[in-house]
């Protein structure tokens, strides 16, 4: 969903909106392009709505806000539209293939419901459910508007399923379970936090060009009643299943091959699966990779990928430190605004005092001067507060990308675990073939053949066939993941570039705009007090 930064302003916002760009939010069924009338630097929230906006000229006179109408707290940072995925600059809209498709999700109306459990403990526990409202015109969906109730567990399930089905993709991370917070915080605070986080998460999913069309997401958003997504069973029961199977594998391993009859299981990493034997083998393989003298039979050869990976790691580090400094910058801006406000108030009090107690004219003159300074200081304090709210919004991109980097790392992990599976199967194959060779050599020495050995060889050849199939399946999966990685990396590069350019522009324009306003405020006072200036 292409959203623009200025959509986060509520109607009560005193600052003029960008030139009448139509918000998609209020017109979901419009089939026209949402990008009406957007000047190229619409990231400037302070852009004057004067009739002759030359969008690229930042020398437009920025209107000072009218303080009488200023409603502080009108900056709704958590408004649904403000954190909509990537802010694409309109100049790139042409390159977006889905510029007229939209998928808009909002989360609301938390309700406390009783857990229907078969537990022996009377007086069941509670959980919260949320109303998920979707507006869309995507073809995959059976309709344009949906309302379903989901709970957090359902979201976890969705996230897990997406992780399984879309290996190699940069899938946005779901909100934390926050067990500790849920105990410590006030309930309604926690619920509100969670609601906002869920909305952010679902919106990010909706913005992902591939995932927005996924079956899993569609079912989550569309299907009423209990969520039909099969939940992956928990680790413990999987381990149990695996433990039951293991002896059979070890004893009858020869006949069962490597035990990977179910090729679809190969599309998942070994860890967390039921196939304990497979886990052991892959673990052994990874140790061999790290410590063994012989190189594994297939290496991560894509140099370009490795380079990009390194660069991304570097990027992540730098991003992290910028994000930290951004936080302290915001704090410093907040502090100076506060102190200015306090100074202003102190002078207001002084002014009142001097005016009341005045016994001579010079006192009254002094009081008048003080009043001007006090008013200016209070104005400047307000400006700082507004500046900061905007700054937070812009620099929030940094935090967002830290989250994206986590998703990237997950995708890279998908790739390396798929590679490990392939390597393990390859080494299995080679050891099987080796055994066959040895048996053949031994049996050829016996005249007339060795019945038991021949039978053994036949069994091994079966295993080889099965293992070959498994290997081919794993290789296909690995290649698929590599492909996904590559596509996603390209998408990331492009979006990252655009997002950061917009972030910088927004930040810089914001700073410049507010600095100009402050300069005006103080210049007025300097004028008024210029009579005292030293010659």
């Amino acid at each position: 969903m292409m959203t623009l930064e200025n959509q986060s302003y509520e109607e009560a916002h005193p600052l003029p909106k960008s030139n009448g760009s139509k918000s998609i939010l209020h017109d979901p069924l419009s089939s026209s392009s949402p990008f009406v009338d957007i000047p190229t630097d619409d990231a400037d929230p302070l852009h004057s709505s004067t009739p002759n906006p030359s969008p690229n000229s930042i020398n437009t006179i920025l209107e000072p806000p009218s303080y009488a109408e200023a409603v502080f707290g009108s900056f709704d940072l958590d408004s649904p539209s403000s954190i909509n995925g990537h802010d694409h600059s309109p100049s790139s809209e042409a390159s977006q293939s889905f510029s007229s498709d939209y998928l808009k999700i909002s989360v609301s109306d938390p309700l406390k419901e009783q857990e229907v459990s078969n537990s022996l403990v009377p007086g069941g526990s509670y959980f919260y459910s949320y109303l998920i409202t979707t507006f869309t015109n995507l073809s995959e969906y059976n309709g344009t508007e949906f309302n379903v109730r989901r709970r957090f567990k359902d979201v976890v399930a969705l996230s897990d399923r997406l992780g399984q089905s879309y290996r190699g993709f940069f899938i946005p991370l779901r909100p934390d379970k926050s067990v500790v917070e849920s105990q410590v915080m006030q309930q309604n605070e926690f619920v509100e936090l969670r609601r906002a986080a869920l909305e952010k998460y679902l919106t990010r999913l909706a913005d992902h060009p591939v995932i927005r069309r996924s079956e899993e997401l569609r079912m989550f958003l569309e299907a009423s009643g209990k969520m039909p997504l099969m939940r992956t069973t928990d680790v413990a029961s999987r381990m149990l299943d695996g433990a039951v199977r293991l002896p059979k594998q070890l004893l009858g391993a020869e006949s069962e091959g490597v035990g990977v009859a179910d090729a679809s299981e190969l599309t998942q990493p070994a860890k967390g699966g039921r196939d304990l034997l497979r886990i052991f083998k892959e673990l052994k393989q990874s140790v061999t990779n790290d410590w063994g003298a012989a190189k594994p039979l297939l290496l991560e050869e894509d140099k370009e990928f490795l380079e990009r990976k390194d660069k991304l790691q570097d990027f992540e580090q730098q991003l992290s430190s910028v994000s930290l400094q951004a936080e302290s910058l915001v704090k410093a801006q907040q502090d100076i605004g506060e102190t200015l406000g306090q100074l202003g108030l102190a002078f207001v009090k002084l002014t009142k005092f001097e005016t009341e107690e005045a016994i001579c004219d010079s006192q009254r003159a002094c009081a008048a001067d003080m009043k001007n300074v006090a008013t200016a200081a209070v104005k400047a304090s307000r400006l700082y507060r507004e500046l900061n709210a905007q700054t937070v919004k812009h620099l929030d991109k940094l935090h967002e990308y830290l989250g994206v980097m986590l998703a990237v790392n997950n995708a890279f992990t998908d790739r390396s675990s798929a590679l490990l599976t392939v390597q393990t199967l390859l080494s299995d194959l080679s050891s099987l073939n080796l055994r066959i060779e040895k048996l053949e050599a031994a049996s050829s020495k016996i005249f007339g053949g060795d019945r038991s050995r021949i039978r053994k060889i036949e069994e091994l050849r079966d295993s080889v066939r099965v293992t070959e199939d498994a290997k081919n399946c794993a290789v296909r999966e690995y290649e698929r993941i590599k492909d996904n990685n590559r596509n996603e990396l390209e998408r990331l590069e492009k979006e990252r570039h655009d997002d950061f350019v917009n972030m910088l522009k927004g930040f810089v324009v914001n700073q410049a705009g507010y600095a100009e306003k402050m300069a005006n405020v103080w210049e007025t006072v300097a004028e008024e007090t210029s009579v005292y200036a030293k010659i």
């Binding site: 107690e357 010079s362 002094c366 910088l504 210049e523």
Partner: protein, 402 residues
């Protein structure tokens, strides 16, 4: 600071001895702080340069070396001799050891001392003081001798008198201390003035506190902007391409602005916070004068009492035709003279104070007006600099978006 004689006030204008074509002037400056001595004994000395054409002074220019305690000596002498006059305030002694020799502290103190001496030199009463002349001209040894000769009587800190005036409303503390209710003027104007001064101090102190914090905030913002800039530059370097350049530019600009903020912090300190501080000190000095006035009043009242009793005694003696009568009469006359003197002193103080209050208000309006002007100018200049710096980045950012 040049002393332009206020129209008609002060005897200097009528000096018959110098038919100079130039109007009389007395200019003083305090400069060139230098660290003297070592270790615990170390102190800062200042150059005090006097330029004048007044006949009482030796020569058109005189340079002497003075230290903080010399200024304190001058202030104390003036306080003793010129009761009723608001003696200009001095900067405080520093309590924090390591702060004592920081460049900023020394500069703040030098500025305050300069203002102090110049105010004395331009006050029509104080400028005639012998002690001032001594301060401005005596060699270092004489100065040291004079300083050490200060006996306990003169060495009373104005703050000591404050105990009695702790709260204007209740006299409980005095009862607790065993003192009788001290005699106070029942003049309503005077009451109003006292209330005004006390409340003014509170208001000013609060404003000054926030002004000082504002200086700190500028420094903090500068620091965090610098850190931010550095981190952004590193990010830009790892990014490469034109976006990376944009980041690096942002980082560079942040550093520049950080420096601007530090400069403004200093400007704010010297030209806004310090004048406010000075205002607070001035009000405290007025409180000291108020206590002098109260002392004089009490003295005058006590003497009046004593005289009354003496008169009664005397009349008793007269009736009994005692030999002690003559002595009593003599004592009575002495007491009457003392009483007259005390009354005169008190009335002088009252008269002076009334003038001083007006002068003080006028001067304060000018001083604060200038401070406000500097404050506003500084803030405007800073804001404009910030706006320009950020705006200069935009063309490059525009070219970044394809």
């Amino acid at each position: 600071m040049n002393v332009q004689q206020r129209s008609g006030s002060g005897p200097m204008a009528q000096s018959p001895r110098s038919p100079s074509s130039q109007p009389p002037y007395l200019t003083v400056s305090v400069s060139d702080p230098a660290k003297m001595g070592n270790g615990v004994q170390a102190y800062i000395s200042y150059k005090v340069i006097t330029k004048t054409n007044l006949p009482e002074y030796e020569g058109p220019e005189k340079i002497v070396i003075r230290r903080y305690n010399d200024f304190v000596w001058l202030r104390d002498r003036l306080f003793e001799k010129y009761k009723g006059v608001f003696i200009p305030p001095l900067p405080e002694k520093s309590t924090v050891e390591k702060f004592r020799f920081s460049a900023e502290f020394i500069e703040m103190r030098r500025q305050a001392l300069d203002v102090f001496v110049n105010r004395i030199a331009s006050h029509h009463e104080l400028q005639q003081s012998y002690d001032l002349r001594m301060f401005l001209q005596a060699d270092e040894q004489s100065m040291e001798r004079a300083r050490s000769q200060e006996t306990g009587i003169f060495k009373k800190k104005p703050a000591d008198f404050m105990q009695i005036f702790k709260d204007v409303q209740s006299r409980v503390s005095d009862v607790v201390l065993g003192k009788e209710k001290p005699l106070e003027e029942s003049n309503p104007e005077y009451e109003k003035l006292k209330n005004y001064i006390f409340q003014l101090e509170d208001h000013l102190a609060e404003a000054q506190k926030h002004a000082y914090r504002l200086v700190k905030r500028h420094r903090e913002l500068g620091q965090s902007l610098s850190d931010f800039g550095k981190a952004v530059t590193l990010l830009g370097n790892s990014e490469g391409n034109n976006l990376g350049k944009a980041f690096a530019d942002l980082g560079a600009k942040s550093e520049i602005l950080s420096a601007k903020l530090q400069r403004e912090a200093h400007h704010l300190l010297m030209n806004f916070e310090e004048p406010l501080k000075d205002y607070v000190r001035a009000v405290q000095s007025i409180k000291a004068t108020l206590s002098e006035r109260a002392n004089a009043f009490r003295h005058h009242c006590e003497l009046a009492e004593t005289i009354k009793f003496k008169e009664i005694d005397m009349n008793k003696l007269r009736l009994t035709r005692s030999e002690k009568l003559a002595e009593a009469e003599r004592e009575y006359e002495e007491l009457k003279a003392d009483g007259a003197e005390a009354t005169r002193r008190f009335e002088t103080i009252v008269k002076l104070m009334n003038e001083e209050i007006l002068r003080f208000q006028e001067q304060k309006t000018i001083d604060m007006g200038l401070a406000f002007h500097e404050f506003a100018k500084g803030q405007a200049h800073l804001a404009k600099g910030i706006a320009d710096a950020w705006r200069s980045l935009l063309p490059k950012l525009e070219s970044c978006s394809t």
